[in-house]
Subunit: 464 residues, 2 copies
């Protein structure tokens, strides 16, 4: 394919993309097929000779589209949002054309530099303490990672390195492997599985801190565990706090946990993967109070800030902590020291939406969640299962887990809307997350009518 | 920005991309600016109100383009290629629109399934043993990773887990931390720094195996180190072989190293990041002989197979080894269990080029490297420093390192072509890699005239 054909096919693809997104509501949000469906629809080997673009695009509709869970349908309420916007897509086109690999300044100066400045822009939108901003006299700065999991792993490894050095500075006879075997990391029992996985990769112990009735970690509980572990000869070194847990969007008490971590020489990492985007709104910024105690902070603009995947932003208070852990230059701060020109997406989205446009997006989606919450509250067959703070509503039918499992099965089978469940204190709960950029009040109202209709049918069939 | 504006701006961007790539030769391949150039060119904060697309695109030319190292210029001969093609860019546009996050089958069936089948297609192109192909009765299969570094880390962690279990199965009283402290991994002294980094992350020892006069690891040397380490009470568990090293594209002797690893219960991972793409050509496939002994194999189609970054393909012989190490389901085989719909790029490129088109691309670029090699060989002021097997030529002026450093400085400063150096046996060597898809014989000839002109001037100035 030469440039002339790309001009033609590229414009056709722009229309295909716009058509797909404009008419996405007409497609069932969730596919109706069995695992393994695809293999029979395409050849077992690549073609030897080139095929035509027309044939390929026909197969997109025949093979791919029937197997898509449409994350950007306004009827998609599962997981957390995956950000998507036209400005980000335009930036990705440019990024693909430039096609640089930014593993050092020389390999791509603009890529390296725009990233640092975009992290400063975003850090300022969040009102991060100055020590996290690179263009100041502080020692911190930000970097783009692929995922929150990657950011968690990097912070844990940096903390591990720092802890080993600190212990050995005092007890020079202790071997590294002895110290490693005594290190303990902590996180909420509500934390994402990737936190536990980071400890598995880093070969250190991880303990789950029990949460309170709001599914949040409180200072007392962590303090108790740390003291027990220290008494047993272990070395607490890391705590991963969560702001906006995956099951219920709960917030750990970082204003109290932070001073405890600082006092105990424990690295505090804050994972705000979903919730972080909301902190650009002054009314939600208090949820981030306590950030000043953190050593590192991460959230995913690719979840809720209209920047297509992947764009997970991480800030550290001391760049040298990361550099020390990886024996690398500042420019190699990344977990994988290779990347695309991802900051272009941030630049396009920030400039074409403006801060006000981004705030409007967050506020609209929180309002939609509140609207759904009101609908649930007004129906006494249902109950709300966790405080609705941002764009997630956890709810269930009053009654057994089985009843709610059956309700979800019917919802999934109907394919009009898509939800996923979670477990909260042993209870099977439905999660309703506002996801698509184009979700409006009418979608919320229709979703609720649909849910209540299925619930009505289900309850009718129950033995009394 | 709504769909209507995206249709308009998207088509403008398609033309911008095509114009950029058609006229890329007119731009200096390497930027002429100092680190920190960008911060002064843009505001210190994001705008509050939305800005116009026209202003943004003007800033792309004003702020971004002057800071780009043009990886797709036919005058770019640095590092290794970064793959780029129009079909891959079209696939990325579609991928952005679908915008699914493929962390489970249900989250995106087509994404999960197309990936498995595309890895089979590619595995068959490489004539991988059947045990690596998912659609067979074997226990293996392939998965897309972001980078070769990520694949190396995953293989090392899987090997670590397997080794601990094996030792503890025999000596049940040994603690995990004791076993970990005795594990030793090995790799070539020519291996990429990411291999050493994987060991650092995994908290295991790594030893560098000295290479022979062709910069390759031979069986004898690894065997000697393994025996010494075993005698010292250590536990050899992992060897990362390299096919096509970064400095000189050297090939470790895997047909001999493989049986040694198998006999010693050491996991053999093969990193063929750059060279792997060439194995789709029957004449280069013998370089992969010995793959049957490997536990895992990785290369980067995003380097040399016309699939834009990121697309690093990894196969394992036993899926359960990886699943066991990460306590995860097969669908979560990834290092980061989140991803974009990357297999679309493979599907588009394989179908629109066909196997023959891909082979033609590899063969053309190897021929261009051979052409450059001949030019160097015909000039007795220069010498070739490593056998030219694929698309990389290592060469230097006969004489001191300082002389060659000065030559490279002049090349870099002139900005007509771009090269980077390497060290081979203490000698400063220039690497000339065929990179851009559009590089032709005339670019090679012109590059050589340019290099010899600068060398002539430099040698004239030398005291005799």
């Amino acid at each position: 394919m030469d440039a002339a054909e790309f001009r033609r096919r590229g414009k056709e693809m722009v229309d295909y993309v716009a058509d797909y997104l404009e008419k996405i509501e007409e497609r069932p949000v969730y596919p109706d097929l069995e695992p393994g469906y695809l293999r029979d629809l395409i050849p077992t080997e690549a073609p030897c000779e080139p095929e035509s673009f027309e044939d390929l695009m026909q197969d997109v509709e025949r093979v791919i589209m029937p197997g898509i869970t449409h994350w950007h349908s306004p009827n998609f309420f599962a997981y957390f949002p995956a950000a998507s916007s036209y400005p980000a897509m335009l930036a990705d086109m440019l990024c693909g054309a430039i096609g640089c690999i930014g593993f050092s300044w020389a390999a791509s100066p603009a890529c390296t530099e725009l990233e640092t400045v975009m992290l400063d822009w975003l850090g300022k939108m969040l009102q991060l303490p100055e020590c996290f901003i690179a263009g100041t006299h502080g020692h911190g700065g930000g970097v783009i990672q692929s995922t929150a999991s990657e950011a968690t792993l990097m912070s844990l490894l940096a903390a591990r390195c720092k802890a080993v050095r600190r212990v050995q500075a005092v007890e020079s006879e202790r071997s590294e492997s002895d110290v490693l075997s005594k290190l303990v990391a902590y996180t909420s029992d509500q934390a994402h599985s990737s936190v536990e996985r980071a400890a598995l990769i880093g070969a250190v112990m991880m303990r789950k801190v029990p949460t309170d009735e709001h599914f949040a970690v409180r200072e007392e509980m962590l303090k108790k565990m740390v003291e027990e572990d220290k008494a047993a000869g272990l070395i607490p070194f890391y705590f991963c706090a969560t702001l906006g847990t995956t099951p219920s969007c709960a917030f750990d008490h970082i204003t109290k946990l932070g001073p405890l971590c600082n006092k105990e020489n424990m690295w505090m990492h804050i994972d705000a993967a979903y919730a972080g985007s909301a902190f650009i709104c002054p009314e939600f910024r208090p949820l981030l109070n306590g950030i000043e105690y953190a050593d590192s902070f991460n959230f995913n603009p690719h979840k809720w800030l209209l920047i297509n995947f992947d764009c997970s932003t991480m800030w550290v208070k001391k760049r040298t902590d990361i550099i020390g852990a990886f024996k690398m230059e500042p420019l190699y701060l990344k977990h994988e020291n290779q990347e695309r020109f991802r900051s272009l997406k941030m630049w396009f989205v920030f400039r074409l939406y403006g801060l006000k446009g981004l705030q409007a997006h967050i506020r609209k989606q929180v309002a939609l969640a509140k609207e759904f919450e009101s609908l649930v509250q007004a129906d006494n067959r249902f109950e709300i299962c966790a405080e609705v703070i941002l764009g997630l509503v956890c709810f269930r039918l009053k009654g057994s887990n089985e009843l709610n499992q059956n309700l979800l099965k019917r919802i999934t089978k109907s394919r009009e809307i898509h939800l996923v469940p979670c477990q909260l204190s042993g209870r099977f709960v439905l999660r309703f997350a506002i996801c698509a950029r184009t979700t409006e009040s009418r979608h919320i109202q229709r979703a609720w009518r649909h849910i209540t209709q299925l619930a009505f049918e289900l309850l009718q069939e129950q033995p009394h």
